[in-house]
């Protein structure tokens, strides 16, 4: 299939794992293409990591420097292994309670999802050197085509397909940095602007 290229502002190429220095080179508003290994995780795994606090050595993948992707994919199992059929982002704010400690405990450099996150996460990003990548909500087939391989999976039996931790190799996975390690959040900017527009409309 022909891959369509879009004309956007200059895209930054991200190669994982990320160092703190790499993260500090990213700013809210940057359009990026991500390459390398990312890990999926949503509600159950966040609750698990937050309360059970497993040691790094007990987690089969290295989370340091990687991106934790809020995604519950559709996966098909075949003789040659697992294949990702659809893998767009899920709403990130649901794990706001947990994320700050997961960032600081496991050395994660990027959170990816949709809708952005709150102040506690923004604060943890600033303290630990981490950014939020907003990818395209609902674009599940497009994004699945950018997952080149399912490398491994953890907690599949226990949590089920959408909630398991999938280790994925991605290529040219598109996203926009909407929260950076300097404390800037585009979500806060839009909320503020739309809030004042709302006030005028309901006075």
């Amino acid at each position: 299939m022909v891959e369509k290229q879009f004309t956007v502002q200059k895209q930054k190429i991200i190669n994982l794992p990320l160092s703190k220095k790499d993260v500090m080179g990213l700013n809210a508003g940057d359009v990026v293409l991500i390459n390398g290994m990312i890990v999926t995780g949503r509600d159950k795994i966040h609750k698990f990591l937050f309360y059970e606090r497993p040691l790094k050595k007990d987690i089969p993948f290295n989370l340091s420097g990687t991106i934790l992707y809020h995604c519950g994919p559709i996966v098909k199992k075949s003789d040659s292994g697992y294949k990702i059929i659809a893998s767009g982002p899920t709403t990130s704010i649901r794990v706001e309670t947990y994320e700050h400690r997961i960032i600081s405990s496991y050395g994660i450099r990027g959170i990816m999802g949709k809708g952005g996150m709150g102040e506690r996460t923004l604060d943890a990003m600033k303290k630990n050197g981490c950014v939020y990548f907003h990818t395209i909500g609902g674009a599940a087939a497009y994004l699945a085509d950018r997952v080149k391989r399912v490398v491994d999976v953890w907690k599949l039996e226990e949590f089920g397909v959408p909630e398991a931790l999938w280790l994925l190799k991605v290529e040219n996975f598109p996203a926009i940095v909407t929260m950076d390690a300097y404390g800037k959040s585009l979500h806060n900017d839009i909320a503020k602007k739309s809030g004042s527009a709302l006030k005028k409309l309901i006075k």
Partner: protein, 281 residues
């Protein structure tokens, strides 16, 4: 009813992997209205490309194939018990074949049933009609947008919302503001007004089955729908909350009579992937 079962499996496939033409057209129009090089334009470009890929490769548009909601109109004498069985069978098959993401989770054990069936899952509403045909409407309602829906009880002082349609207008704007882009805008907004919480919630969601191009046959609601669409799009939330002109594609309002002491307004938000379809049998 083996054939009907297969028809419902195909309905699932169609609804999960393609969008109704009115929704796709509205997204195309939204795309060209956003500034070139903006994040909003970028998001809509990818969304339109995703719709094309999903249709051509017969894969789900979104990995969240949602809670299936059926609105079934039955001719007199057709067994609803048999129909329900057929829909549940079709749901299991579609989960495997399309595939759909297994989304039904047991409240007590927290286990996913793996086949999208469970207590009250899928949701099925029956209505008997004098027509001789069986009509099955299916909506796949993603959870991201379901979670940003709101119910209001009027009056609501913080919004200066009285018990009238202007109060309703304020509630809708407040709900969209609170949702920001988290439910995957541009949205279709369903509004239900009436006497009881359960009734308005159902009514609001049912509005999402209306075509974006239809017109409300109640003049005053038609005008309110138009006004709300314009005002929502002036909030500047934009596609996926990136900022921009298009926060909603349509607003659809339905009303029931209310109790003198009650004025409930429910707002059901649907993501850009407004997945709905009909099977006539």
């Amino acid at each position: 009813m083996l054939k009907l079962r297969d028809g419902i499996v195909e309905l699932y496939r169609k609804v999960a992997t393609s969008l109704p033409p009115d929704v796709e057209d509205a997204l195309k129009a939204a795309c060209v209205s956003e500034k070139k090089g903006s994040n909003a334009r970028h998001a809509l470009d990818v969304i339109l490309e995703n719709i094309r890929i999903a249709r051509e490769t017969a894969r789900p548009i979104c990995q969240d194939t949602g809670v299936p909601v059926f609105y079934v109109k039955t001719p007199i004498g057709l067994s609803q018990i048999e129909l329900e069985k057929t829909i549940i069978e079709a749901t299991c098959i579609a989960t495997e074949k399309v595939p759909l993401r297994p989304n039904a989770v047991d409240i007590i054990t927290d286990k996913n049933t793996g086949d999208n069936t469970g207590i009250g899952f899928p949701i099925i509403y029956f209505r008997e009609t004098p027509d001789s045909t069986l009509s099955i409407d299916l909506m796949l309602k993603g959870a991201g947008c379901e979670n940003v829906g709101q119910t209001y009880k009027l009056p609501k002082e913080e919004l200066k919302a009285d018990r009238d349609l202007d109060g309703v207008r304020k509630c809708v704007l407040d709900a969209v503001y609170r949702a920001q882009g988290r439910g995957c805008s541009p949205y279709t907004i369903g509004v239900g007004i009436g006497a009881a919480k359960d009734q308005v919630a159902r009514l609001a969601k049912e509005q999402l089955m209306r075509r974006l191009t239809d017109t409300n046959n109640i003049e005053v609601l038609f005008k309110l729908e138009k006004r709300l669409l314009k005002e929502i799009n002036s909030l500047g939330i934009g596609p996926l909350g990136f900022g921009g002109k298009t926060t909603a594609l349509g607003v659809k309002i339905g009303v029931n009579h209310r109790h003198p002491a009650s004025y409930f307004v429910d707002i059901s938000v649907c993501c850009w992937a407004n997945r709905r379809g009909r099977l006539i049998w």
